[in-house]
């Protein structure tokens, strides 16, 4: 059944990615098809996660590939909050191809099958993995918003003639939504890290590179919110800082996981 659900979900995400590309080239033509692709794909992936949860012995996404599967679900779910709005469709051009690639990677690593065996308690994993992945999904979305901000800001600065033909969300709105997303994601990351530290103190164990980079990621986003609040950092500088934080998220998610999951 998991196999049966994976392919339609991937196909729907893929269709959405292509439709977003078409929408960017010819605004107004395929935006609706893209949004429906995302919705259907996400619902099918939700069903896949449900099947995995029902059949697994313990928390099914504790492996690197499994967590990637859950991460994609969080990212697309968070995107759906804004992505259905016509002006945010350009964001889909950044989010959906990423989702397709990561979802395929998750499958290649066995993260979409139903044979996972949990090594840790369900409650710890739900809190630790769930919160950290939800936070990373938020940071990913904020990065997408920041890319969109920088693109739109560049068009405005360069006085591009198509600025009113290919409409994007307003700069202040993008800046605000990115900040609000991070304001929700950072407490989730804080809690996720706290749960991990409590368990580490309780059960013992060493710190690894992933933990260090995660802590650095937390510091970058905390710094972002502090600079925004106290020093009035907004706009381009703030967007670059969000992307710097996202670079650390990419390192945590793709470059360092083996040490932590091992």
């Amino acid at each position: 059944l998991a196999e049966f659900l994976f392919w339609p979900a991937l196909l729907a995400y893929g269709e959405a990615a292509f439709a977003y590309y078409g929408e960017a080239r010819h605004p107004g033509r395929s935006g609706g098809a893209a949004t429906w692709g995302v919705r259907i794909g996400w619902l099918v992936q939700t069903a896949l996660l449900g099947v995995q949860a029902a059949r697994a012995d313990g928390f099914p996404w504790s492996t690197w590939a499994g967590s990637l599967n859950l991460f994609v679900w969080f990212v697309v779910g968070a995107y759906l909050i804004w992505g259905c709005r016509p002006r945010y469709r350009l964001l889909g051009l950044a989010v959906l191809p990423l989702a397709v690639v990561l979802f395929a990677l998750a499958r290649a690593g066995g993260g979409t099958d139903t044979t996972a065996q949990g090594q840790y308690s369900n409650l710890f994993l739900v809190l630790h993995v769930g919160l950290v992945l939800a936070a990373f999904a938020g940071f990913t979305l904020a990065a997408g918003l920041s890319v969109l901000y920088l693109w739109q800001e560049r068009r405005l600065k360069r006085h591009e003639r198509t600025i009113l033909s290919v409409r994007a969300p307003a700069l202040e709105k993008l800046d605000h939504v990115a900040a609000r997303t991070i304001a929700f994601a950072l407490p989730a990351l804080t809690l996720g890290i706290a749960v991990g530290i409590v368990r580490l103190e309780d059960r013992g164990g060493g710190y690894d590179a992933l933990m260090a980079v995660t802590a650095l990621t937390w510091a970058v986003y905390a710094g972002y919110l502090a600079l925004r609040h106290f020093a009035g950092w907004r706009g381009r500088r703030a967007a670059y800082l969000v992307l710097a934080g996202f670079a650390l998220v990419v390192i945590v998610r793709l470059a360092l996981p083996v040490t932590h999951f091992a």
Partner: protein
């Protein structure tokens, strides 16, 4: 008589050049009168998009030379950007200009009034008077028979739409207005229609600033206080006639810290420009001058462009009618001579007949009708031949056949 056009427009000349050749209506009229002299005709059409000189003279080469010299006297760097058109091409160009087909915003309405103003202030005679009246007719016809002027696309609405690209909702956004030209007032209306609030109005004369605050709200400022008010506004709209910057990069840079990263959208509708263009390089500052706005608007007007294709057909038809009229001028003297000659013969023969009063009246009526019927077809044919470009040959033939050479 030939019609000659020499000019520059937004197609070849950037705003930096056009602003140096821009003339206010009074100076444009003065230049036209100077160029026309005692026997010629001249009109100067000067807008923010173009400065064009229309001359009607016997020698097209001489007229072109005079017009070029007049424009180069305004700005010697104009040379490579100048275009030169004659007769049919010049007429078609003016008709397209009047219809808004040569504007950055197809079908924009302001140009029709500007063409009318140039006509009123110009030194016109039979040729240019007819040319400009026909151009105004063509402009109105294109607008009434197509939807080219219907979609809400203008520099002022584009300015407000761009402000929304920065801020989203403009509701309650404070605006600083510097100067208050006609274009500026249109932009104020567009911004207010979207919910923006006029916070300050600055003008060279305090009275005018206070007059505007009574109309639109806000506080009146002197131009010296403009920089200090930047901290409190999100949108700046400038449209003064000042030859100097009303806001420099330093003025804006000095307020960035106090603005704490809030973006600032600046609209410069003035020619010459009011706002230092390097302000656009500052973080969070977005400056659009008249060229930028017009370029943006031009891009959004696909619908108008479709209508423009229909308007082009209308304008081409009107231009053709003008061409026919102009060409018919070549045969008009021959036709007039022929009719005068025929009338002379008729009168002479009636005198020789020594008729009574009643008989004379009856004979006059009959002979006049015969004459008109006889000359009607040749008159029409000569005008048609003139429109087909061989009118001069026909005119010469008529003069030769009827012995009118001496009357030329």
């Amino acid at each position: 008589m030939s019609v000659v056009l020499v000019g520059i427009s937004h197609h070849q000349a950037p705003v930096e050049l056009r602003e140096r050749a821009a003339l206010d209506p009074e100076r444009a009229g003065e230049l036209a009168r100077t160029l026309a002299g005692e026997r010629g005709e001249a009109v100067c059409l000067s807008t923010c998009n173009r400065t064009e000189l229309y001359l009607a003279e016997e020698s097209a080469d001489e007229a072109e030379r005079k017009a070029e010299a007049a424009l180069l006297a305004l700005e010697e760097e104009l040379g490579p950007s100048l275009y030169r058109l004659r007769d049919e091409a010049a007429a078609l160009h003016l008709f397209r200009v009047a219809a808004g087909l040569d504007s950055m915003v197809p079908g924009e309405g302001e140009i029709l009034g500007q063409v009318r103003g140039a006509h009123d202030l110009g030194a016109t005679g039979p040729i240019l008077d007819r040319l400009f009246r026909d151009a105004l007719h063509a402009g109105k016809k294109a607008r009434t028979e197509t939807a080219i002027g219907e979609s809400p696309a203008s520099v002022s609405s584009a300015a407000a739409a761009l402000a929304e690209q920065v801020f989203g909702d403009l509701n309650g956004r404070p605006v600083l207005v510097i100067g208050a030209g006609e274009a500026g007032e249109l932009a104020i209306k567009s911004l207010r229609a979207r919910g923006a609030v006029i916070a300050f109005v600055a003008n060279r004369t305090r009275d005018r600033a206070e007059e505007l605050t009574r109309a639109y709200g806000g506080d009146a400022l002197s131009l010296e206080d403009v920089a200090r008010s930047l901290e409190y506004v999100d949108v700046v709209l400038s449209s003064t006639a000042s030859p100097d910057w009303t806001l420099t990069r330093g003025d804006v840079q000095g307020t960035l810290q106090a603005r704490r990263g809030r973006p600032l959208f600046l609209i410069d509708l003035a020619v010459p420009r009011d706002l230092d263009p390097t302000i656009n390089e500052l973080e969070g500052c977005y400056l659009y001058d008249i060229d930028d706005l017009q370029a943006v608007v031009a891009e959004t007007l696909a619908g108008r462009r479709r209508e423009a294709e229909r308007a082009e057909t209308i304008v081409a038809g009107e231009a053709e009618r003008f061409r026919e009229w102009q060409a018919s001028l070549d045969v008009v003297p021959a036709i007039a001579s022929l009719r005068a000659h025929a009338e002379e013969i008729r009168e002479a023969e009636l005198d020789r007949a020594k008729l009574s009063g009643a008989e004379r009246r009856a004979a006059e009526s009959v002979t006049a009708a015969v004459l008109n019927k006889l000359l009607h077809l040749p008159t029409i044919r000569m005008k048609q031949a003139a429109a087909a470009a061989d009118g001069v040959i026909y005119a010469d033939a008529v003069r030769h056949l009827f012995g009118l050479e001496d009357e030329r």
